[in-house]
């Protein structure tokens, strides 16, 4: 918006005042100037056209300047439409009230051409700047929203069904603290009898972490297209070693990813897992006892190009549950700076009912409620495997 195309509405019940202002504005180079003779006409004009400046008299019939400002404040348009109030010389209280209602500034009658010029041009310039900033923010927000949609789409849907004659369900959750985040959650099948569970946490939040997350996810998924995919994932330390080497190559930023990669051989109910700096998963056995899978598999991904990883195995039994979370759960804080902690996660797992449809959403809601409206501490991602080793009857 420039002086030549700025749209101005002059509102005054005295025709001579309107004409005088319109002529002076035209001399300043403004070409789009409309007039209204009272507040009702002004609001009607504002409703049909997007103005860049309103010159507003206070005392008018039908609806006065206060009424116009109150209406603009009520619907929020006062934030986007600057208003210069026209007041009689010496009228202080009405001007103060107008400014409290959101008017930008004021000019006094009779009009001083120099002052009028300075105030109008300064207001138009500020309006142009704030329009630019608002458009930029809106554009960035749209981009972030689109990125969020794409990121959330990387997380698979919940699964409940039968694999190799065994009933199992997998619940997943991805809840970035900002529009996009650095947590990663995925599961997929390799061959007929292997299910891969993957959960990662990039060492930061926001757009940079989201790019790292997407890169890590793409690398992991690309391994499934290799002819040796079954062997790589059956020994998940091999798959993770390849992803780590690629991420660590030239990683000057030291951004890293803690990762938990597990492969479940559904036929034998054996789970092989590698814990690359990630917090140990929670394991509830069929008897309800909770333990941790704390075998140390290696450092987080992306730091040491030649790092080697080691897998641990655990045999799952009937009604076992495996819960893998990122530290967005355990390290969430309440307003008193107390941690949500691991004990609450364990309590959630201990009290889990088999029939619950979306337990992880409930856990995530619990964490956000614990934060009591504070800005979310961190991204959250989780995966819950509910394993039934007995074939369905």
């Amino acid at each position: 918006m420039t002086v030549s195309n700025a749209k101005i509405l002059v509102v005054d019940d005295v025709a001579e005042n309107r004409d005088l202002l319109a002529r002076r504005l035209a001399r300043l180079g403004f070409t789009s100037i409309d007039q209204a003779s009272n507040g009702v006409e002004a609001l009607a004009a504002i409703g049909t056209k997007s103005y860049d400046l309103l010159l507003l008299d206070i005392m008018m019939p039908e609806l006065d300047g206060f009424g116009v400002l109150e209406a603009l404040k009520r619907d929020g348009r006062i934030n986007e439409l600057p208003v210069l109030v026209i007041s009689a010389l010496g009228e202080i209280e009405p001007v103060v009230r107008c400014i409290e209602l959101g008017a930008t500034d004021f000019i006094t009658k009779p009009f001083n051409p120099t002052l009028l010029r300075a105030r109008v041009l300064a207001t138009i310039e500020n309006k142009a700047l704030s329009d630019l900033m608002r458009d930029e923010l809106r554009r960035k927000q749209l981009e972030l929203n689109e990125a969020r949609t794409l990121q959330l789409a990387l997380a698979p849907q919940r699964f409940a069904g039968t694999v190799c004659g065994r009933a199992l369900s997998i619940d997943v959750l991805l809840d970035p603290a900002k529009e996009v985040g650095g947590d990663l959650v995925d599961y997929f099948r390799v061959g007929d009898d292997m299910i891969i569970l993957a959960l990662g946490d990039v060492s930061d939040k926001g757009a940079g972490a989201a790019l790292m997350m997407a890169r890590t996810h793409a690398m992991l998924r690309a391994l499934t297209a290799r002819p040796d995919a079954a062997a790589l994932f059956r020994a998940p330390q091999q798959a993770l070693g390849i992803v780590n080497a690629a991420l660590a190559d030239g990683n000057q930023s030291c951004m890293f990813v803690t990762f938990l990669l597990a492969s479940l051989d559904v036929a034998t109910a054996r789970l092989a897992y590698v814990r690359a700096g990630h917090i140990p998963p929670f394991h509830r056995n069929g008897a309800g006892k909770i333990g941790r899978l704390s075998g140390a598999g290696g450092p987080p991904l992306g730091l040491l190009e030649n790092a080697t990883y080691r897998a641990e195995t655990v045999d799952l039994g009937p009604d076992d549950r495996l819960l893998i979370v990122t530290d967005g759960f355990t390290e969430a804080h309440d307003p008193g700076d107390s941690l949500f902690g691991e004990a609450r996660v364990e309590a959630f797992l201990a009290g889990l009912a088999a029939a619950e449809r979306e337990p992880l959403r409930r856990l995530a809601d619990h964490v956000r409620a614990f934060e009591s409206g504070r800005r979310p501490f961190d991204d959250m991602a989780a995966i819950l495997l509910s394993f039934e080793s007995r074939p369905p009857s």
């Binding site: 060492s203 939040k205 390290e331």
Partner: protein
């Protein structure tokens, strides 16, 4: 987070106090990074006053280690509190740092 620096011999000793989380890590890395411009810098970070570290904070420390090593210098941590030590252990990063229980011991190690 509060950051205080002093020079003890040829070692730059940084005392940090508070939470080293994603909100504090960028300023921490920038401020401490600015203290190690000399060739072969010796940097000691005293973590006695740090009670909470997130992965973003660990990343900031790793960036400093990388910078010090690239300049041919040496780096150490001392007085790491138990909650922070736990995070280092869980993430498997303990082995990547030279960690000393007390400041004097760390300064002696860096001098050696």
């Amino acid at each position: 987070m509060e950051i205080h620096d002093e020079r003890i011999g040829d070692t730059c000793v940084v005392t940090a106090k508070g939470r080293l989380d994603s909100g504090a890590s960028a300023a921490f890395a920038e401020k401490v990074g600015g203290l190690i411009a000399s060739p072969s810098p010796k940097l000691l970070i005293d973590f006695a006053g740090v009670d909470f570290v997130t992965s973003a904070g660990l990343r900031a420390v790793l960036v400093l280690v990388k910078k010090v090593k690239a300049a041919g210098g040496s780096f150490a941590l001392c007085s790491v509190q138990e909650p922070v030590r736990e995070v280092l252990d869980i993430t498997g990063l303990t082995a990547m740092f030279s960690i000393h229980s007390a400041r004097a011991e760390a300064i002696a190690a860096l001098a050696g």
